[in-house]
Every structure is written in C-alpha cells, then in structure tokens.
C-alpha cells in the first residue's frame, strides 16, 4: 500500500508541477503559433520523469508502467486532460520504454547511462504512437520532431530523473523504501562508516 501511494503521489505532484509550468507555457505557445506545435517536443521528456523515478525508488518489476498508467489516470480524471482516455495507451508505452533498460539490468544497476537510455526509449516508443495519432507521418518535419523529442527524453526524462533521485535520497525521505536499503548494503559492503543512514552524502556518491 505504501508503494502504491508513493506512485500516486509522484503522479499527482508531477501532474501539478506540469500544470503550473503549462500555465506559463500556454500563452507563449499560442503566441508562437505553428512553432508551438513543435515546441511541445522540447518539454516532452518531462512526461517521462515518473517512470524512472518509480523504478529507481521501488526497484520492482512493473512499477514504471504502473506509475505512468496511474499518472495518466490522474491527468484524465482529476485534471481533465484534452487527450482523453487514449492517454492511457501513451502512458503504457512511455512506462514500458522507460522501464526496459532497468529490467535488462535486473533492477540492480542505476547508472547515468541507464537513465539516459531509459529516457531515450520512453520517448521513442511513444513517438510512433503519437505520430499515428496526430498524423505526423508524411510531414516534412517528421525527423526534426523525432530528434527534438528523443533529445528531450534523454535530458529531461532520463538524466534529470537521476538527479532528482539522488537529491531525494540525500534528504532521507526515501529511508523506508528499497532504494535506501540498497544504498545501505552498498555502503556496508564497502565496510566503512557503519550505520551512516540514507542522509549521508558519502553513501550517495558510492550508490552510483
């Protein structure tokens, strides 16, 4: 139950933060007219954040997909997303793409490269779906769109997730979740500083 609530909380908070960001963004994108349609790809990676966060914190199979699905439900039901229920399909694809690299590492390795690949896969898998949905095939811009979106996936949806996870671990709020246990055991394997706890910045550095 605690894990489930954590997933929902992640979805809710990021949904809200995104909404705040969008408030500021909408005016700009309306002003940009057709370029606003392209600009959506720049921020795209932000939608992916929840999945790698969830996987890194809970370290269990399926968590990334579940997190994205719940986030999609929150957007559709509570925030009234314009995309409608089809967002669930997009959420599933995003979760699947983001979780794949971690699954291949059997939920044990969480390095920078793995986060980057996670963002890349998450962004690319869903790209083909949205390209079908919004009729991007046959536009001259297709490759440009894909490039921007993939880059945004790597940066925002991959590397930023790693930064956030490390920062969260340092605050100690994750002390009762699997990620803290993993970092503790990694620390005791190094046989220095027994009982340092998740708040110890040394452990965080070693965690990588």
């Amino acid at each position: 139950m605690r894990d489930l609530v954590l997933l929902v909380v992640l979805g809710v908070v990021f949904g809200f933060l995104y909404w705040v960001l969008v408030q500021a963004w909408t005016a700009l994108s309306i002003a940009m007219g057709p370029a606003g349609d392209l600009a959506q790809h720049v921020l795209f990676g932000g939608w992916l954040l929840v999945a790698p966060l969830a996987v890194a914190i809970l370290r269990r199979p399926g968590v990334g997909i579940l997190a994205e699905l719940l986030a999609a439900v929150i957007e559709v039901v509570f925030l009234g997303s314009p995309v409608g229920p089809l967002l669930l399909i997009a959420g599933f694809l995003q979760g699947l793409g983001s979780e794949l690299p971690f699954a291949l590492g059997r939920y044990r390795s969480f390095g920078w490269v793995r986060f980057a690949v996670s963002g890349l896969l998450g962004a690319s898998l869903v790209f083909f779906w949205s390209a079908f949905r919004f009729g991007w095939y046959g536009q001259d811009l297709l490759l440009l769109r894909f490039g921007i979106q993939a880059l945004s996936g790597v940066l925002l949806g991959g590397l930023v997730a790693k930064v956030i996870v490390d920062a969260l671990l340092r605050t100690g709020v994750l002390a009762s979740f699997p990620i803290a246990a993993a970092s503790r055991s990694a620390a005791s394997a190094g046989s220095t500083a027994p009982g340092g706890g998740a708040g110890d910045p040394d452990l965080v550095r070693r965690e990588r």
Binding site: R2, V8, F16, L70, I74, F78, G84, L141, A167
Partner: protein, 245 residues
C-alpha cells in the same frame, strides 16, 4: 450537477463510452463529417450535460489553440498540390485537409473529455470502477487519497513560494524573482513534503483497514435504462458518422 442526464449516468459506463468515442474518431477522415459530429456533440453537452456554455467555452480555449496550431503546421509542412501558387510559402490542399481533420478530432475528443470531467465526481467514478470494472480497491483508495492531496497542492505551492521569496533576489520593481531556478527549488521542496505526507497517508489507510480483503461498498452506483440509452445514442451517432465518411 447530478440533475442532468449525463450527471446521473453510471460513471464507469461514461468512461467506457468516452474511450470508445476517442477511439472511433480515429476512423473518421472527412472534415465535414467531423465538423457535424463536433457541432452535435456541443449541442448534446449543453442540453444533456447542463454544462453552462460559458464554462464550456473557457474549457475549449486550449483545444482551439492546439487545433489552430495543428492546422497551420500541416498546411505548411505537407507536400502536395499547391492551393495558392502565388504565395511565398507553400500551402497544400492535402495539408489543409489533413490539418482540418486532425484539428476537428482534437475538438471532438476535447469536448467529450470536458463534459466527462464536468459531470463526474471522482469519488463516484472510483466507486463505480471498483463495482463494475473490477478495479482493485487498493488502487482506488490510493487514487482517492491522491485526489485529496492534489486539492491541497496549490495552497502548499503558494506557501513554499512565499517562504522561498523571503531570501530570493529582488527584481528592480521590488518583487521577488521567479525564474527556472526558483521554480526547480520550490518544485523539489513540494516533492519532498508530498512524499512524506504520502507515507503518512498510506499508514493511515492501512490502519483503517482500507488496504485489502473482502469489503462492502458505501453508496453503490447503479446501472439502468439511462446507461443503455447513452451507449445506444453514442454508438448510433458514431456508426452514422463512420458510414458517411
């Protein structure tokens, strides 16, 4: 709210119809048919959903903006027959047609999403999903807790922003700066406090026995003639539209 026809329908049925609609619209390619469908839908929303036209109009603004953007991009970025060869930019007939189609699809799906959100209280929806769609109660309770949390977030956001503004560098007019750095800081603070709160919420839910096991339902939702009528009308309209295009 529940005085309207749509407000009294079963939420799970409404969600299913909504899903069906947004999937069915993908098969429609004729902009004229889509425009007609959109008009009929707007009328139905005002009559059967009792959504005040002003609220509806306000909710439609983002979809309109998105639709116009899609239309323009497609008109300019798609190869095909030229509409106005004299113009310096290329505007193609194919581009305009596809752009109009996509923009109208957005409007149709957007309208259904708006009316769904306006006529469905989340509590009723989750009750109905547990009852009729076999959603695990754990998930439903977690989502409801999340819904409550979402309602308090704007307040927390202002609190955190004010706290941060105390030390923030000032702009020339004397107000605190709020750029991307400040946004990131406040966002992180919000994330940390919410995770803490989430842990307490989970503990509270579990200690009240709201996690697992057999349970009864408080204020069950009903399935009735109304829901059959809703499904029938919507399916009929979609069928006619698909047949025409």
């Amino acid at each position: 709210m529940s005085a309207s026809f749509l407000g009294a329908c079963n939420p799970a049925v409404k969600l299913a119809v909504l899903t069906l609609c947004s999937a069915g619209v993908l098969f429609l390619t004729d902009p004229a048919v889509l425009a007609a469908l959109c008009a009929a839908l707007l009328l139905a929303v005002v009559l059967a959903g009792r959504v005040p036209p002003r609220d509806l109009a306000r909710a439609m603004v983002p979809f309109l903006a998105f639709g116009v953007g899609t239309l323009l991009v497609n008109a300019l970025a798609r190869p095909g027959t030229l509409l106005w060869p004299d113009l310096p930019v290329r505007v193609t007939a194919e581009g305009v047609r596809i752009g109009a189609m996509l923009a109208l699809r957005t409007l149709v799906i957007g309208t259904t999403a708006v009316v769904f959100a306006a006529t469905t209280p989340p509590q009723r929806l989750l009750t109905s999903l547990v009852e009729h769609a076999r959603v695990p109660p754990r998930v439903a309770f977690a989502l409801l807790a999340g819904h409550r949390m979402l309602q308090t977030l704007p307040e927390q956001w202002t609190t955190i922003r004010r706290a941060h503004a105390v030390r923030a560098p000032l702009r020339r007019d004397g107000r605190a700066r709020f750029g991307p750095r400040e946004y990131a800081r406040c966002a992180f603070a919000l994330l940390v406090t919410s995770i803490r709160a989430g842990e307490r919420v989970a503990f509270a839910l579990e200690s009240r026995g709201l996690a697992d096991g057999p349970r009864t339902i408080w204020r069950p939702t009903s399935l009735g003639v109304r829901d059959v009528a809703l499904v029938g009308v919507v399916l009929g309209a979609l069928g006619v539209a698909i047949g025409l295009s």
